[in-house]
């Protein structure tokens, strides 16, 4: 188990392949520290560079610039095996010609550990992962979720594993089994106190698994924080929009001295001192407000903005409303019990605590 640090890491595949012009960086200016024993997630859309970072951490790729440190020691020159990194891949990787016991024992057998110790250790791991009944089965016959557990087993069986890297491990698992596997991953991480780095494009997986989530976009880190921080205090419009289902509403607006915030035909008022702080940065902003904070009412409220309900999506637990105000569509939430239908008029208010202002994609206040 180790503390993992990425310092000033930049990587370009183009340069790696020897292109001398028109090259681009896959990841830029990466600086992160993952404390020993933490559950961490790298979250971002496809192509944002998270798999590249994973390969750099595991040692499969050497970064064009920058260094990788494990417990303060530079490991940039070491191979994946030498760094004691374990990896679980997107689709289950098991050795088909061996049974489950053989699979989990494989890393130890290659290390030259004696068979009694191997036996003990494999049984320990099998018990944690609830695989004891399957030990004699040929690994090729297991279902995908069981195979991923075997993969994880191979990852944690060695005593000196520095970290376990998981590259979208739930991709081929069907939704029902996903829940159980996710729970097992979290349980293993907590009990054995492994540093686990979980790469995914699914915010739900990331936010439920990790204590620390790094959100990435186009090769750069947008924000690192706890799930709460990312939800309540996004540093960029990307984070605001990406986190949350549905994500934050984004509206281009102008702020005036008297506290009027005007966007697309409507306006509402905020406190004058709030407006004053904003105006220090200019007067054009992007306003963000999460659907769950938009106050929706089917009864007329004086001073509130109005809109027409365009779409009601009932999730069973709550309703997601799409409300159109002129040319802008807003998403809001309503409790399951609210009687509201498409075509109804809705009165909206934006509580000030839920408002976030961004300029050029970055947080202002």
């Amino acid at each position: 188990m180790a503390t993992i640090e990425l310092k000033d890491v930049w990587h370009s595949y183009d340069l790696e392949e020897g292109k001398s012009k028109d090259w681009q960086y896959a990841v830029e200016d990466i600086n992160i520290t993952y404390e020993n024993g933490s559950a961490v997630a790298l979250l971002g859309p496809s192509g944002c560079g998270k798999t590249t970072l994973l390969k750099i951490i595991s040692g499969l790729t050497k970064p064009t610039k920058g260094s990788v440190l494990f417990d303060g020691e530079d490991v940039s020159e070491l191979s994946a095996k030498e760094r004691h990194i374990a990896q679980v891949f997107q689709f289950p990787v098991v050795y088909d010609s061996m049974n489950v016991y053989g699979n989990i024992a494989f890393p130890l057998a290659n290390d030259g550990v004696d068979s009694d110790t191997i036996r003990k250790r494999v049984y320990e791991v099998a018990e944690i992962l609830e695989l004891t009944d399957l030990l004699k089965q040929p690994a090729g016959r297991l279902n995908p979720a069981e195979k991923q557990k075997v993969s994880l087993g191979r990852g944690i069986v060695r005593p000196n594993t520095a970290a376990v890297l998981l590259d979208e491990p739930l991709t081929v698992i069907d939704p029902k089994a996903q829940w159980g596997l996710r729970r097992k991953l979290k349980q293993v991480q907590k009990e054995l106190n492994f540093t686990m780095i979980y790469v995914t494009h699914d915010q739900h997986e990331a936010l439920t698994f990790a204590e620390q989530v790094t959100v990435m976009q186009v090769g750069k880190i947008d924000q690192t924080g706890t799930p709460e921080q990312l939800h309540e205090d996004p540093h960029s419009t990307f984070v605001g929009y990406f986190i949350g289902s549905p994500g934050m509403n984004m509206l281009d607006c102008t702020v005036q001295v008297d506290g009027t915030v005007a966007y697309n035909g409507t306006s509402f008022k905020i406190k004058k001192d709030f407006a004053a702080r904003l105006l220090e940065h200019g007067n054009e902003f992007t306003l963000g407000i999460r659907p769950e904070y938009v106050d929706v009412s089917t009864q007329k409220v004086s001073g509130a903005m109005t809109g027409a309900v365009k779409l009601v999506e009932d999730t069973g637990a709550y309703k997601i409303l799409t409300i159109s105000m002129d040319s802008v569509d807003l998403k809001g939430r309503a409790p399951e019990t609210m009687k509201i239908e498409e075509g109804d008029t809705a009165w909206l208010q934006f509580p000030e605590e839920g408002l976030k202002f961004f300029k050029d994609g970055k947080k202002v206040i």
């Binding site: 994946a80 095996k81 891949f89 050795y95 049974n99 489950v100 890393p107 290659n110 004699k136 090729g140």
Partner: protein, 289 residues
């Protein structure tokens, strides 16, 4: 479920062709095998007498024995060699196209041309092989020496068909996702262990195919020995197909018919056995849990 019976009419042309080219000749052979046929006279039904005569004939046994030896040697050499070639071929870049073309050339040349080319190579007065071998003091004569002839046919076949195994193995190898090799590296597997536990198991379906194809084809080898040595010297390169064909050509149709059916039976049984064996082999091995 509603059946459209008109669909069967569309099959008539194909069925007619198959009947003509396969089924009817097969039935003819079965017919011959059960009769004693003497030119001019009316064929006489003799039941299984031909079959017994064939099985007891030392010449038949000799041809079968030579064939088995040949096929075993072919499989023992071409399979590992093909795999080795596939693993050492480049996976990316210009080299890929070049390797594929070089491997493809022997496969694309018609069998009789292969036979003739190798005959020219091996001929006593003008051939490259006897010339080169004479530099190391070996006097090579493909038409007189009972060892030189079969060995030459063997080498011809290796040259001709190993590329098939190599190409099959290459395609299978490329299909193995990289993640397996990364996992093996992380697990600290040596090169041999990686080959044994990742590459070989994943190549299994392709290798079974290659094995069965090479088995069946080598068991039928015909044109190349015919053109190179005519089956000689003596009968050292007379393998099964040539043996049976010669019997038919000398109008011993009853014998040839029975021999053909025995031949067919042997190929079918051996193919089935190999298939069962190869697909069941090595499933779920591992340390005792």
């Amino acid at each position: 479920m509603k059946y459209d019976n008109k669909a069967w009419l569309f099959l008539i042309p194909s069925l007619a062709v198959m009947a003509l080219s396969a089924f009817i000749p097969l039935m003819t052979v079965v017919n011959y095998s059960l009769h004693y046929i003497f030119s001019g006279a009316i064929p006489e039904f003799v039941g299984f007498a031909n079959f017994i005569e064939v099985l007891r004939d030392p010449k038949f046994q000799g041809a079968l024995g030579r064939q088995l030896l040949f096929t075993i040697a072919i499989l023992a050499v071409q399979m590992p060699l093909g795999i080795a070639i596939a693993l050492s071929m480049p996976k990316k870049g210009v080299g890929v196209a070049i390797s594929l073309v070089l491997l493809g050339i022997p496969l694309l040349i018609p069998y009789n041309v292969v036979g003739i080319v190798w005959r020219l190579f091996s001929q006593s007065d003008i051939g490259l092989i006897p010339e080169v071998l004479s530099w190391i003091g070996y006097s090579y004569n493909v038409s007189l020496d009972p060892v030189d002839a079969p060995v030459t046919i063997f080498l011809l076949d290796v040259w001709h068909w190993t590329p098939l195994v190599a190409l099959l193995a290459y395609a299978g190898y490329l299909a193995i996702p990289d993640a397996f090799y990364r996992a093996a590296e992380i697990d600290g597997a040596s090169r041999w262990k990686t080959f044994r536990y990742v590459t070989l198991p994943k190549l299994r379906p392709v290798l079974v195919l290659g094995f069965l194809l090479r088995f069946m084809d080598s068991f039928k080898i015909y044109a190349e020995p015919l053109l190179l040595t005519g089956g000689g010297p003596g009968d050292t390169t007379t393998f099964m197909s040539l043996f049976v064909a010669r019997k038919a050509q000398s109008y011993e149709l009853g014998y040839a018919g029975a021999a053909s059916l025995i031949y067919l039976f042997i190929v079918m049984v051996m193919s089935y056995l190999f298939f069962q064996l190869l697909t069941k082999l090595g499933q779920g091995e591992g340390q005792k849990a």
